[in-house]
Symmetry: C2
Subunit: 218 residues, 2 copies
């Protein structure tokens, strides 16, 4: 498989973690979003929407939208499972994942930040406040959920899709200097994940297109 990705795209980061947790290998093909390469005709043949990540399967099919890719991975490579076992548990668990995928991440996308700074004429300070606002709102609710857990990870002994979503979102929070001290349970969970090979290998600072100055910086 090939994963078309950008080192610090959090949607691509999610897919890298999930591939790792499932023990699947994919060759990383960098797409330079800073240079708008995702809007090129060549890339749009793989994803007409012009967004990373795209996972090209062994059969040559190009899959887009990280949430759809994650569901596909769970269906086609079910072991280890990244969701709980019963439908009811899965529904509650998917709600936590969607909390990040629908209510936090889309508001902090690069294209959104560019719109705030461009057409809406917002200062970098105002953009940073916006960024922190949606993360803080979402993390406040998620912190309470994680505090109530009994195990070390969302699936007890193992991490699952929740960590696949959370870890990239925490990386983003730090990148934009959002205060994370108010979320000790999320920060601790993130630290436990950072010890695991799948999360280490997926980190934005260990990708083929990671800029030299960020290489290996955790």
């Amino acid at each position: 498989m090939r994963l078309y990705a950008y080192y610090r795209s959090s949607a691509a980061y999610r897919v890298r973690i999930a591939l790792g947790l499932k023990g699947l290998a994919a060759e990383i093909r960098p797409v330079d979003i800073a240079a708008n390469e995702q809007a090129s005709d060549e890339f749009r043949r793989r994803n007409p929407q012009g967004l990373v990540p795209v996972l090209e399967t062994d059969s040559g099919a190009c899959l887009s939208q990280s949430v759809a890719i994650l569901e596909w991975l769970e269906e086609t490579a079910p072991d280890p499972a990244l969701y709980p076992r019963t439908s009811l548990e899965r529904a509650r668990y998917r709600a936590l994942c969607q909390h990040i995928a629908s209510d936090i991440h889309p508001l902090n996308n690069l294209r959104v930040l560019r719109y705030l700074g461009g057409p809406l004429g917002q200062s970098q300070d105002a953009i940073n406040t916006w960024y922190a606002h949606w993360i803080t709102l979402g993390f406040t609710a998620l912190e309470q959920e994680v505090i109530a857990w009994r195990g070390a990870y969302s699936l007890g002994e193992l991490p699952g899709m929740f960590e696949v979503m959370l870890v990239p979102q925490l990386y983003n929070a730090r990148r934009f200097s959002v205060a994370t001290e108010s979320f000790p349970a999320l920060v601790d969970l993130d630290a436990r994940c950072a010890e695991l090979p799948a999360f280490r290998a997926a980190h934005p600072h260990r990708q083929p297109d990671t800029p030299e100055e960020l290489r290996g910086v955790s």
Copy 2:
């Protein structure tokens, strides 16, 4: 089952359509978002995130996040299926659904519009332009997808989760006077859905909390 909903919340609208397509009944319990009732302690006992919809199952479990609820419905009431049959088809199909659920809808939420008008001091004109921008960007890509279909609906003879997502988004587009003439395939698909009982019954203007002046207006 009970569905805690607001007549024009598009996430609640999605769940109403899916329940109807699956032939499932749920008692509608209105939550007055205009009066911030979703932030009340009573409602937060059902969903700590303070967002509609919440689906209370027959066993009393409270499910939140429309995408998670839709996946639960598909798992627990699989007939009729609202997704295609193979994993690969489902992955591509879920990507179209996520295109609406992640890339359009979250940017046009009431809480986001309130932030634009409040802390960012944007005029109603600027807010409307923002609203139209994200819808137009998303619909432009989706229009090409729908043009390429052979059948009347996303699943051929039948509508599925794509229509569950699209129809509420088109309702929103019209409410904010977004020009839809450029998307004839989406508009035609929406018109075909409007003829079906599940879509008719789910319409925001046919709910217990629909204001008098909107009742029955299509």
